[in-house]
Symmetry: C2
Amino acid sequence: MVSRCFLRQLFEKESSTYTYLLADMAARQAILIDPVIETAERDAKLVQELGLELRYVLNTHVHADHITGTGRLKKLLPGTQSVISRASGAKADLLVGHGDTVKFGGEEVSVIPTPGHTEGCVTYLHKAQGWAFTGDAVLIRGCGRTDFQGGSAANLYDNVWQNVLNLPDSTVLYPAHDYKGQTSSTVGEEKQHNPRLTKTREEFIQIMAGLNLAYPKKIDESLPANIVCGLHDLPDRMKDWL
Amino acid sequence: MVSRCFLRQLFEKESSTYTYLLADMAARQAILIDPVIETAERDAKLVQELGLELRYVLNTHVHADHITGTGRLKKLLPGTQSVISRASGAKADLLVGHGDTVKFGGEEVSVIPTPGHTEGCVTYLHKAQGWAFTGDAVLIRGCGRTDFQGGSAANLYDNVWQNVLNLPDSTVLYPAHDYKGQTSSTVGEEKQHNPRLTKTREEFIQIMAGLNLAYPKKIDESLPANIVCGLHDLPDRMKDWL
């Protein structure tokens, strides 16, 4: 029998962010992908209840809509190391690039570059299970905006088609956000039904240029903390967590 | 290779309700468990995009906190039949009881009585996959209130321990709600970490008697529609959906 990696999806309501806990239950080692500072305590509690050692906290990119839970989790669960892409320009204990793997027990995720929403966006792929944690590169029937942090609609389109939508159709896509209560999708579904990514490259670039989105509410407080994957220049309401 | 039943979890934010789409992807037949009227269109669209025939809409009980999506889904996807427990006293195309099965293609869920939150609560068990859709009987680190609709803390405790927490520890529990962004649990976890259900029967009854919860905001508009699993006496804001 093939051993099955443990996966638990978690949701943070205010920013509609999904956090993912993955674990090798035999080795009791775990990773968290894209935790949020407000729900870090919930996540740490779950890790402890399940008797797991949190090895790494991975971010798919430098988030602009919430403060990462990385720093708070490192404080709550000492020994945990932070991971982000080298291309993000952020600081972390471990900087990763194309093809690198992050191991926890006998399990691993590999790093796939998917820049376009930001310059440093990556997708973490658990190849053995067919799970891709796409951050804001591919959302369910959507994709992340491309108008700040080095974003580029052309880059997003090219990278997503070359590096994510070329995976097997059955690959399950787990995004960093959903605003309609959808929890996952598959490569097959998005290739067929994504209203943006199914367009031609030119049409896609035009759609993204015409979105006219508001300035992200939390970007000014999120970037200083997220660029160090930690507890930096936190807003006053979070000072207790320093 | 064992064929794997398709499962997609969906969320409705206002009532924090989880809806579940299950399907036999070879036979293209599906069921929905606990849909919400506000998100019925989203659910119907997903069913159609996946090329599925929606056979049944199942409710774990007569909900008091939201109007079921059953009636709207029957309208959007003609041919769909409604299912609820006989013990609920509600009307539906198919009334089920202990041990009955609801089939879709080569897949099936069976009916386990778990009254206590309401008199007619059931859990739908997909035995082959080890999935239990517990409604409000078992919530993640919690359970449904027991102070109306024939609720009984003693009944809830006895039925949950006899019929749900006696399942294998690896059984995944999918509740009808979560208010903290948790998406699922397991029998093993709840047996160890549920703050209410791990107590003795007497302590549990005392806890439930002391909750002092507010009257459910939507109970007066929810019950008339949910007791017929359909579009009945809808509030004015929903009249367009009749």
